[in-house]
């Protein structure tokens, strides 16, 4: 199952990317940029009612 976990920028404290873990364990760090198609898929995943893991504090 694909999972997502947010990352915070260390200086601003803002969410800056989201890590996706694929079924095979491969991890992708996705920027929160609308023209990135991986981010578009993430937004669809969220729109489908899913919630990512929060970023580490």
């Amino acid at each position: 199952m694909i999972t997502y976990k947010l990352n915070k920028d260390r200086r601003t404290g803002e969410d800056c990317s989201v890590n996706r873990t694929d079924d095979n364990g491969q991890v992708w760090s996705i920027p929160l940029v609308l023209s990135n198609t991986d981010y578009q898929e993430y937004l669809e995943w969220v729109a489908a009612g899913n919630t990512p893991e929060p970023a580490d504090e």
Binding site: N7, D9, D15, W28, N36
Partner: protein, 425 residues
């Protein structure tokens, strides 16, 4: 007296020469010779038989721009005619020729080309292959590993490539000025019959199914198909996807439509076309794919490998796999604690957008030690753009705060040693 030769001095004095017979046997059309030296024929002049002897037409016979003007009038551009990237299937950064299993997924195979099996339980393997035809060294091969002869109506089996809007904006699709395009490709299959594909928009609401016939099994054949420009629909002219070129390998009835006509829904092939997905061990190869402006196919536009690779890098880049320790673009890191070091990974070309990163078998090093990278995270939304992104490289422990480090890819040759950057469509 029979006229056997027109001398220059005759041209100089004659105003009109009409319907003259040369040597009693050959009729020539009407010509007008004016005082400025311009010769005009009353109709087209056909040159047959031996034609013009090689090298007998002087370069000076062609006025500057005459050839260029002709090609422009025909819609035949010059360099960079081909809107397809990696049409020769020569670049395979992700898989280096290894098979990619296609089973309810849609992964990338060679660069810029994806394969998909959707909504049915068939499978196929797709890879870069050395089976090719004259003028090419590689092809993309699909082989059916689990056949399905009862495809659900909405199922899809295809190989396709998406084209960025910036690279086709001049074609005017979606406007009244849409221009025709011509698709050329070399294809081979273990099976003969009428195959199909479709040019669609990226939004998958406009489609032009096309057909091609494979006449002889296991033999490369060149196909050319002219597609009228689509004056309807949304066709991006920016960095988003605009065109999608699909080769259908077996899809359900809902996904197939009437050939040679634009339709307002998503189709990947034509109704009644051959379904490769239904034949176990059936093979299909393609190479030399070209999509160009105009209705006249031109010869395949070969690009130097470095150019083709750089074009691919706009969408995907892989570091690693050379068998040596590879510094990632000479990136220097600064440790912010014992478990994390940050650095900016610069892209070798301007990518389409801020890329997604993935890494395997990386290590952070200084002059004394190496620390295995356990994970990475890009800070793309804050410190990233098309040129580079600040990336955090995480290790279990051992780094010294504020100390500089390098990041390397381990010295493996397998596909499991990499840093990926993906800005795909």
């Amino acid at each position: 007296m029979a006229l056997t030769k027109i001398q220059p001095n005759i041209i100089a004095v004659a105003n009109n020469v009409t319907n003259k017979t040369v040597g009693n046997t050959t009729s020539i059309p009407s010509f007008t010779f004016d005082g400025a030296g311009v010769v005009t024929s009353a109709s087209n002049v056909a040159i047959s038989g031996a034609g013009i002897t090689a090298n007998t037409v002087a370069n000076s016979a062609f006025q500057t721009g005459s050839v260029e003007n002709y090609l422009n009038a025909q819609g035949l551009d010059f360099g960079m005619r081909n809107r397809i990237i990696n049409g020769t299937m020569i670049v395979d950064q992700r898989n280096a020729g290894a098979n990619v299993v296609i089973s309810s997924n849609a992964p990338y195979t060679v660069d810029r080309w994806r394969a998909q099996v959707s909504q049915h339980n068939g499978t196929m393997n797709v890879r870069q292959d050395s089976t090719s035809t004259a003028g090419f060294t590689k092809s993309l091969r699909a082989i059916v590993t689990t056949a399905n002869t009862s495809l659900p109506a909405t199922s899809v089996t295809r190989i396709w490539t998406n084209i960025e809007g910036l690279n086709v904006a001049d074609l005017g699709f979606g406007t009244a000025n849409a221009k025709p395009v011509t698709l050329s490709f070399w294809v081979r299959s273990s099976n003969t019959g009428t195959f199909s594909g479709a040019l669609t928009n990226y939004d998958e609401v406009r489609s032009y199914p096309f057909e091609y016939t494979i006449s002889t099994a296991n033999t490369f054949e060149k196909k050319t198909i002219t597609i009228p420009g689509d004056t309807s629909g949304n066709w991006s002219s920016n960095t988003d996807g605009s065109f999608a070129l699909n080769f259908n390998l077996g899809s359900g009835t809902t996904q197939l439509g009437t050939a040679n006509a634009w339709t307002g829904s998503w189709k990947v092939g034509s109704t009644g076309s051959f379904s490769l997905a239904g034949v176990l061990n059936a093979t299909w190869y393609v190479t030399g794919v070209q999509l160009e402006e105009g209705s006249i196919p031109t010869s395949f536009e070969y690009r130097q490998y470095g150019t083709e690779l750089a074009l691919c890098h706009r969408y995907f880049l892989r570091y690693g796999g050379t068998g040596n320790y590879e510094f990632i673009n000479f990136t220097t890191l600064i440790a912010t604690g014992s478990g994390t070091a940050y650095g900016c990974v610069q892209n070798p070309v301007q990518m389409r957008t801020v890329p997604t990163y993935s890494a395997s078998n990386l290590r952070v090093v200084d002059e004394n030690a190496a620390y295995t990278v356990t994970s990475i995270s890009g800070s793309g939304a804050v410190y990233g753009n098309n040129y580079g992104t600040e990336v955090a490289f995480n290790v279990s422990s051992g780094l010294t705060q504020y100390r500089p480090y390098f990041v390397q890819i381990n010295n493996g040759t397998s596909t499991s040693h990499y840093l990926y950057m993906s800005a795909e469509l």
